[in-house]
Amino acid sequence: MRGDLKPRQRWAPAALAGILVLTGIIAFAASRRSGQNNRRLLADATAAASAQTVEALVHAQQAELITAGAMLNGHLPTSDGQARSDLRSLTEATPTATVGVAIAGSDGSLRFRPLLGPGVASPPLDLTASSNWKLALALARDGGTARTAESAGPDGRPVVLVALPLYSSAADTVSSRRADLTGYLVELLSPDVLAAPSFKGSAEDVGARLLDGTTSLASSPGAEGGPVPNSAAVVPLADPALNWRVAAWPRPTKSLIPWYFLLGGLVVAAIVWLVTAAELRASGRAETRALTQARDLQLIARVGPLLQRSLDVGEVLPVFATELSDELDLTSVAISRVGPGGQFVTVFSHGAPVIAPDRAEYLEVTPAVVAAGATVTLALQRAGRAIGALTIRARRGLEHSQVEALRGVTDLLSASLGNARIFQEEQEMVGRLRDLDRMKTTFLGSVSHELRTTVTAIKGFANLLAMPGLDLTDKERVDYLERIDRNAGSLSVLIDDLLDFARLERQSLTVTPQPVSLSQLVPNVVDQTSSILTDHPLEVDVAPGVVAQADPSAVERILVNLLSNAAKYTPPGTPVSVRLRREGTKAVLVVRDHGAGIPVEDRERIFDRFYRVDSPTTRSKRGVGIGLALVLELVGLLDGTITVDDGEGGGAAFTIVLPLAGTDSGTASATQLLST
């Protein structure tokens, strides 16, 4: 394929889908990033809020203790039952807290005796064992107010202590407070309890932890394990007594929104891919079809002008076959025409020899596609008639469209061969007309020559005879008269020929068949013609009783012409014979001479009008070339035949066969004619 046509690139759907996928990924990332930012802000807020909540809760516990302390009026409960009754309000607020009292021992210890809450069954606990608690208790005693401190409990887990000093009197100085201290109202809390309210509502996306230094006091649900991330927001509690901090950090989100973005992008991309790819496939198919059609048209467009370049088939076909082979990758191309017998005759072949059907009837229907290496023969038709065949062998096979293109080319080839044939026939016709024109010119020259020569001789000898002063012998006079007579005879034959020829041209040459006794007629005609045969010995051999169904004038014209020809075209002195025989139901008349004879190749054409055998001996002989044409015409009108062949001992023998008049009603007439 020489064309530069190519299907266009199909990157568009891939690019579009890629863009959509990328957009989805970007949206996914942006969403994720946006969520992360949100969670970070949320962590910050969580940290701050949690710190405040924890602090508030501690303060609330302190306030509760103060309220309870006021109800006790500075005195420790005298019985467990009273204590439980007085302190119940504390545990109602914080059910998980363990509330009790601490009483100073003589050894300086402070024993905590739980009265209410989950730790009520625990053994008494020395609160001074913890330096934190000891310090807080001392500060509370001296300050006359509630204090809070955190330390490890007996089980090692952090415990928050809230203590309110109780005095026996209304002490208002440090010394009096120390002197009048009766004990402490104490509440022990788990840090979980303090952190729980703030952590309880924190979002799933945020992890939070209450810290004392690096020690974890409490964690939000799901954020228990592992270290606190460095990026966590850390907020310390405002109360200097509580050296705690709340850390909060964003946790991996569980939000599906970014995934929706990603999935949405992928789905849209897939749809776009499918839709555009389908559309592209469709347009690609259309494009391929268009390209194929364009390629086929190119083939036809290239081959068409080649075929019209010339009407000479020999010049056009090689170029055509080469071009077709190149275009369709053919290993063989053979073009044949229908010969006279109806069989295909190869007029041109190109490439390896191929075997093809030899008649139009044997051609198969052209297949839609041609397999690789297969041979296909297409009929060349003109006006519905097979005029030949195109046989091809395709190296790599032919697609449907190529077969269609081949059909188109075949039509063009048919037209071309048809035109070439018409042109050839016209050329042959022109040639024949030129030959005819040349023969007519020659005929006119011959007639003029014949007439002039004959008339010149007649007039010249007549003048000599009539000239008074000329001294002529009797022999000379007789000779001149004979010459005048002979030329007059020739002139008569010529004029009769011309008249008959004119009738022939007008198609008005007619005969009147009737029983004719050739046995009588032939000797008479030979006798009458003797004047033009003076130089030739005559041999007449006529069988008696031969009666033909013929026209006597026509028979006479036939015989005179044949004898006249014998006289003109044979050397003087050579004999001329006439023989009549009856053979079966035919009368056979043979006129034979001993001249040069008639060449085989001229034997058919001598009966053509104006035709004369071109040889040195006949070139200028008198005669105009219509005598034998007339003879043939007359014999035909009489239902007879005429043939020419070599005579015995050389020369030409003309044989005329005429029907006998004895087969039906003619017999009686003939008998009657003979008897008269």
Partner: protein, 125 residues
């Protein structure tokens, strides 16, 4: 050529015409003489070489080479040879070709009685 006698070579394939021309020349008598006869172009050239006539009276249509071809051969050997073309069918083409070859005169066979005059005219110039 003898003084006062014009020797003529008659060339024609028709025996009647040769005899007629000979008779007309004989009748004219005065200084005209037939020195030879030929029935074809080839024979004409051959006889001409022997007879050396003053004038050649040459038919055109003959067996073998034509009268014009014979004239060419004769004039090639002797360019000043007097030749009269004597034809039954003198068309323009024949006259033109005769002039080109060097033929002195053309005479139609219908004017056979003018042969003596034509012979004298040719021989005299």
């Amino acid at each position: 050529m003898e003084w006062g006698v014009v020797g003529t070579l008659i060339v024609d394939d028709e025996e009647d015409i040769r005899l007629l021309v000979r008779a007309i020349i004989r009748r004219a008598n005065e200084g005209l003489e037939v020195v030879g006869e030929a029935a074809s172009g080839e024979e004409a050239v051959s006889v001409w070489r022997e007879a050396r006539p003053d004038v050649v009276l040459l038919d055109v249509r003959m067996p073998g080479i034509s009268g014009l071809e014979a004239a060419e051969q004769i004039l090639a050997e002797q360019p000043d040879q007097n030749i009269i073309l004597f034809s039954a069918f003198l068309d323009a083409d024949t006259v033109r070709r005769a002039t080109e070859v060097g033929v002195r005169a053309c005479l139609d066979k219908g004017e056979v009685h003018r042969i003596p005059e034509a012979l004298w005219m040719c021989a005299g110039t």
